[in-house]
């Protein structure tokens, strides 16, 4: 059942590419159905995982025994990522049905979209380091093409920038894979973890070098400061549903998930190396939010906030304590939900007003009530206002900082949250609540089509109710088990091998 997560989107991509040209309406239905099936499958996997021993499901590709063949591994961390990615992808697909009418060749868009989804799902389920590289490249190449989908000059420019930096990142990741293979002669996650555990500590200096290469490579993919320069160009240039996918899940899957899985479960990172992650997280938080403050382009502002919020996630996970990891993981889920929601609302306003400049928007409260409501929910979530989900995860991260006496990080996290609030107050005031700026253009605007409203409302509801995941009873069912996967560290190898 595990391979279906890549087989379904890949198959849909090729079917849509083959027949989408001739039967226009089919690509919408195919893409939505495939996404719906993937969401259902992720929930099914979550239920199935609870009844399996050790909470690990494995699948041997082609029946080859690991470490010789490729092994697909699903544990709680993977299931969490699968759920997040596929839910956001479903909402983006539903949104695209109406939104992408503005572009020609919708079927090409769906084909690339499904390829990107296949790549992301593949990165999440794989248990093999080179296989992960291949899936990472599938997702990355599809996203490069999607950023330049409109073929305007700005989009092409942003895409080229993204391509160059993304290729350098992939090269560094490939170099680190070559070093790992030359040192350990294995590509299997579990096998690498087991071999490394038995090596004497003083012989692992090359692993330190590999970890540094990976932090740079995956940091480029995750757009951590100082590797962030491509993100504020690339994410706003893409069509809105793709911005939602890129900011919502792509940087997390390709950057954070891959990095965290490798560092914690495969290489068994030590506390002193984790300090680098904390430093990168704090830097990203500050730089991202300060650069966001003076932006007037709605989507560019959101893109800068992505950098800042990814900083929170990395800070939380980098603390290394159970509470910190819980906060980081929970903020990862929340950020996927509210950032994709905000990007979808930016798409909705762009759809009706054809502008992204906040100074030219305004007066949308009466004309577009649903979009305004969704933007309000997203803004309150991202700025951490209780009881929305963003509050709980930021609160846990700040608590975790105080718990290990890192008061500096706690203060920074609180201040960045306030700056985020001020930034989004600006968005809501100028974008939605003020009087219309130029009355002539404002008269004929009306609410966006129903598919766009539905997808935004689904994400808003999820933003409001995701806070219940931290309630003690529900937390032990799901989030605590995700944290447990990371806490076990290189035990991962033994657990996977005992579950073949």
């Amino acid at each position: 059942m595990i391979p279906l997560f890549t087989v379904i989107p890949l198959g849909t991509a090729f079917i849509v590419a083959l027949i989408g040209r001739f039967v226009k309406w089919l690509s919408d239905i195919f893409a939505t159905l495939a996404n719906l099936v993937l969401v259902v499958l992720s929930f099914f996997l979550l239920v199935k995982l609870q009844s399996t021993p050790n909470n690990v499901i494995t699948y041997k590709v082609g029946g080859w025994i690991p470490p010789f063949g490729i092994l697909l591994v699903v544990d709680y961390l993977s299931v969490m990522m699968l759920l997040t990615v596929n839910i956001v992808a479903l909402c983006s697909t539903v949104f695209s049905i109406s939104y992408m009418e503005r572009y020609t060749d919708k079927w090409k868009y769906y084909s690339l979209f499904m390829l990107m989804l296949a790549g992301m799902n593949g990165v999440i389920i794989t248990g093999d380091i080179f296989n992960m590289y291949v899936f990472l490249e599938i997702a990355a190449i599809a996203s490069y093409a999607l950023v330049s989908f409109g073929c305007e000059s700005e989009e092409l420019e942003a895409s080229f920038k993204y391509l160059v930096l993304g290729s350098v990142a992939s090269s560094l990741i490939l170099l680190s894979i070559a070093l790992v293979y030359s040192y350990i002669s294995s590509l299997n996650f579990a096998d690498i973890a087991k071999v490394l555990e038995n090596l004497p500590k003083e012989r692992t200096y090359i692993i330190k070098f590999v970890i540094m290469l990976m932090i740079v490579g995956f940091g480029l993919k995750a757009a951590l400061v100082p590797f962030h320069s491509w993100l504020p160009d690339a994410h706003p240039s893409a069509p809105a549903p793709i911005s939602a996918m890129l900011s919502g899940v792509l940087i997390k899957t390709l950057g954070i998930y891959a990095l965290v899985r490798l560092l914690f479960n495969v290489f068994g990172i030590q506390q002193n190396m984790l300090k680098i992650l904390v430093l990168l997280g704090i830097l990203s938080m500050i730089v991202g939010v300060i650069l966001a403050l003076y932006q007037w382009d709605y989507k560019r502002l959101l893109a800068y906030h992505s950098i800042s919020q990814v900083g929170y996630i990395i800070l939380g996970i980098g603390l290394g304590t159970p509470l910190g990891i819980l906060g980081g993981i929970f903020h990862l889920i929340n950020h996927s939900l509210f950032k994709s929601l905000l990007f979808l609302t930016s798409g909705a306003t762009e759809y009706t007003l054809s502008t992204r400049d906040l100074r030219l928007m305004g007066g949308l409260k009466q004309k577009m009530p649903y979009t305004t409501f969704c933007a309000l929910v997203g803004s309150m979530s991202i700025s951490g206002i209780p009881p929305f989900n963003g509050f709980w995860s930021k609160f846990i991260i700040i608590l975790a900082c105080i718990q290990i006496n890192n008061i500096f990080a706690a203060i920074i996290a609180a201040v960045v949250s306030l700056l985020t609030l001020s930034s989004f107050t600006k968005v809501m005031k100028y974008g939605f609540y003020t009087e219309p700026q130029n009355n002539t253009a404002q008269i004929q605007i009306k609410e966006v089509p129903v598919y766009m409203v539905i997808s935004m409302l689904i994400l808003s509801v999820l933003c409001i109710i995701a806070g219940i995941l931290v309630l003690p009873q529900i937390r032990t069912l799901f989030l605590d088990k995700v944290v447990f996967v990371l806490q076990k560290g290189t035990e991962y190898g033994n657990i996977v091998f005992s579950n073949l």
Binding site: V134, S153, L156, F160, L163, S171, A178, Y181, Q295
Partner: protein, 115 residues
């Protein structure tokens, strides 16, 4: 020492590619730089599996077992080459489109994005 020379040459090739990406102003030269980085990494991967004085990793009938090079890096390099091909093609396609829009390959003149 002599055993290290291929690795050092590999590193120099990598740095040449990096230099092209960082310094050159022409889109096409940047693409070539990325290609050079790809080649240096592929070379490194093949070198990892190479053992001096060993044959190709195929055992024919009636032959005794002889030292072989590691075949797995070669398989991985094939995959990496295909990925590199896809990236290069996409990059060239975008460069052509950029030339149509801006009329130049000079990156100092391709800057509509700012902020």
């Amino acid at each position: 020492m002599a055993g290290y020379i291929p690795y050092i040459l590999c590193l120099i090739l990598f740095l040449v590619g990096l230099y092209a990406i960082l310094v050159k102003k022409n889109l096409i030269k940047i693409i070539i730089g990325l290609g050079i980085i790809d080649y240096s990494l592929n070379l490194f991967f093949v070198l990892v599996g190479y053992k001096k004085g060993s044959g190709f990793p195929i055992l024919t009938k009636g032959e005794t077992v002889h030292p072989m090079v590691d075949p797995l890096p070669q398989a991985l390099v094939l995959t990496a080459i295909v990925i590199g091909l896809a990236v290069t093609m996409l990059m060239i396609a975008i460069a052509i489109r950029l030339y149509e829009k801006y009329g130049t390959f000079d990156i100092t003149q391709i800057r509509k994005l700012k902020g």
